[in-house]
Symmetry: C2
Subunit: 453 residues, 2 copies
């Protein structure tokens, strides 16, 4: 048997054990280029059932049509089904504000998933014809872009429903195979930026390196295997440390700062901690600063989450307030919904008559000039205290709530509004004496609490 | 203050906290080149006490003498001590069979350590003038050589007594600093192979990459920081897994195979497990094979250790038998010392007279044609059994030793000689019936046991 065909079968057994050769349907993503043509031939030779999937992105005029016709003809020759999809790529690219390349990638893989899920429930997978040099080039690209350890595993043989059965073969071996079996294929004349970079690696960087390190290609392929395992061990250590550090509370992550500061290596652990919540790598430094210098209520925002420093805790809370227990009120702007009801805000620029100062407990009147934003809204907790309106002495919130003779549930549902470590309002119950409206008050902040229905 | 000088001080505080600027003596390794000249100037400017250490390797004739004179003159100008050492490099290189470059490196660092230890016990360190581009080039060199994760941390700021206070600065910044302060330096005209590789990175690879990835230098420097931390986490995970897998027994490591086979990722963990014992990365695959296919007594050797498969255990044992409890006897060759005594071997190519077959228990006579090497010598353990000479039924070794009425100590000190999972001799007590000498025996293997004094 041809040596490439034999290694193909070995590679298949090693990585696609869940897809027995005799009982699997492969949806082969085929451009008509040499790689996918060779993969089709190998599948056919090995006796694995397959169909062809060709996306026509309409970006290369005549050439796009030629490729589609070529793939349809392949289907006739192998006697297999051909799925063809035409995409309005240019239009979609404009709508989504992504690059043409990124658009084609998203459209293609979304469509593959659709074909996959339409097929009957037998072992099945989508196969792409990436080869060893593609993987090596991906490794190089990520390395020079600086994507960290997760960029160093190259292209993986299995990713969800996608498999890459040709990763064992080099570009050179694929080319020899195609010639040996007199296969026909089409050439892509486009000059996409990804292709440009890959051509630079292939035609300049690697040949140059081979002058200095003759074994460079083998070394890079070994790097891929090694770094895949290094990454696994890295992930084990990260998970284990984060598991010990982070307490999940509802939709929030709570991290004790004193513990966090002792974690090693701090920078990477912080990054892995905030990464799932749409923060960027650059924000890691900001979080580090927040840990040591930020006052209560300081925070950092991503598209979906906020990182809040609350006393000795770092809290990662969703921006969506219905889910959060730690809510930042950034300024006077209107309502701020929270999970136990809502607070209406109203700012008066004039002093107020004395009689107006008497208000029901669900209304809090504050000297606006004594209040600095942001404020933090959170459930009360053990150790909290404030100076109840009319008193000069501080009182534990716990004691205060007991004296109100609240039910256990009502007690538990009580929230406090905090400014820079000081509680200014036990929400809906009593304001703090230090922030009350006085005859000298020039501007009044009025907060009205409405309990949840 | 000059921006480079300011960053020098920041970098010092961050990495050399153990070396307070006002109370430290730095032994500066100085070639006379621009990097070490700039570092001397920065130390002087910052007010850190230093002396100069210059190795004259005598490899560049006139130029070597010029450099030494230049450094002596630097010492006069700064009013500091100059250590100079001349090395018979070429001669030493021949003796040690290493490359000139490697020889110079070893001689240089050994000498630095000597100067370091001769100094009084105040905070002190040897400083080398490696800079950011050196570190980047080391990273690239290791990456393309394929040295795995431990090659990706670049040059480290602290390594034992060596510090690298100039790592924060790029080659460009150092050059500007030298011009700005009108410093003088000497150029090294040699074309050492390391320099050749570095020049390739500097003059061809990096500029080429910058066309494709304009930020490549920054990204590589960030890679160094990231990978340093990735490596720390990697090491945490490796230690933790190996701690759970490996049982230290005297000078040996014992690893239960069923546990090992479940470890993930197996390849890297095996490699980290055997690496401290002088095995090579390539031997990892052999160990993997040994795990699943090797019979009892199969083994793999390094310069100092053997990896032995013994029933359900993998054992890493020193080759020096005094330290080992699992000793491989490879062939008929002479004595084999072990920790409880010694065994003499003698092979007779003739059959023997019947009366000679009666021997004291410390002598074992075997049918040499029934014996296949290697044999494994090890202490007996629970579960072991054999067919005592003269019996057709198997017997537990434990039972056998009890019936001999041995003391607990003697029982414990008993060793067995094993061939392919079968015990052929309870050493110094009784041989196995299956391997005895019979009238049909053509060649006789005679083993004589001498107990330890």
């Amino acid at each position: 048997m041809n040596q490439v065909a034999a290694r193909f079968q070995q590679y298949w057994k090693k990585h696609f054990n869940h897809l027995p050769a005799g009982n699997t349907h492969v949806i082969l993503a085929v451009s008509g280029g040499i790689d996918s043509v060779v993969l089709a031939h190998l599948l056919h030779t090995t006796g694995i059932t397959f169909s062809l999937a060709h996306g026509n992105f309409g970006l290369r005029g005549e050439e796009s049509e030629r490729d589609e016709a070529f793939v349809r003809n392949m289907g006739v020759q192998y006697g297999v089904e051909v799925h063809v999809q035409r995409f309005a790529t240019a239009q979609w690219t404009q709508q989504q504000k992504v690059s043409i390349q990124e658009a084609a990638r998203i459209l293609r893989y979304t469509w593959f998933e659709q074909i996959w899920s339409r097929l009957p429930h037998a072992p099945r997978a989508v196969a792409t014809a990436h080869h060893a040099n593609d993987s090596m080039e991906t490794l190089l690209m990520n390395f020079f872009r600086g994507t960290g350890i997760s960029g160093l595993h190259g292209i993986q043989p299995v990713q969800g429903h996608i498999i890459r059965p040709l990763l064992f073969a080099t570009r050179q071996e694929i080319s020899s195979y195609a010639v040996q079996h007199q296969l026909q294929w089409v050439e892509d004349s486009s000059n996409a930026s990804d292709k440009y970079t890959r051509n630079y690696f292939r035609l300049q960087l690697i040949p140059g390196l081979q002058q200095v390190f003759p074994e460079v290609e083998e070394n890079l392929l070994q790097n891929i295997e090694r770094f895949t395992e290094v990454e696994m061990l890295y992930r084990q250590a990260v998970s284990q440390q984060l598991e010990k550090l982070v307490e999940q509370k509802g939709a929030e992550q709570h991290i004790p700062i004193y513990k966090l500061l002792k974690a090693t290596p701090l920078h990477t652990l912080l990054w892995e901690m905030i990464r799932p919540f749409q923060f960027t790598a650059a924000q890691t430094e900001e979080v580090k600063k927040l840990l040591t210098t930020g006052g209560q209520g300081s925070y950092i925002t991503s598209a979906t989450h906020r990182i809040i420093k609350n006393r000795n805790w770092l809290i990662i809370a969703p921006v969506k307030v219905e889910e959060a227990e730690h809510i930042i009120i950034e300024d006077f702007a209107g309502n701020s919904l929270f999970s136990q009801g809502s607070i209406q805000m109203q700012l008066s620029e004039q002093p107020m008559a004395e009689k107006e100062m008497q208000q029901p407990p669900q209304v809090g009147l504050f000297d606006a000039d004594a209040i600095q934003f942001p404020l933090l809204l959170r459930p009360w907790k053990t150790g909290d205290y404030f100076y109840p309106l009319g008193m000069q002495k501080k009182k534990k919130i716990n004691r205060f709530l007991i004296d109100l003779k609240l039910s256990a549930t009502d007690k538990e549902k009580t929230w406090v509004l905090v400014m820079n470590e000081k509680i200014i309002w036990v929400v809906g119950r009593r304001i703090d004496n230090r922030f009350k409206v006085t005859p000298h008050t020039k501007r009044v902040l009025k907060l009205t609490y409405t309990a949840a229905k």
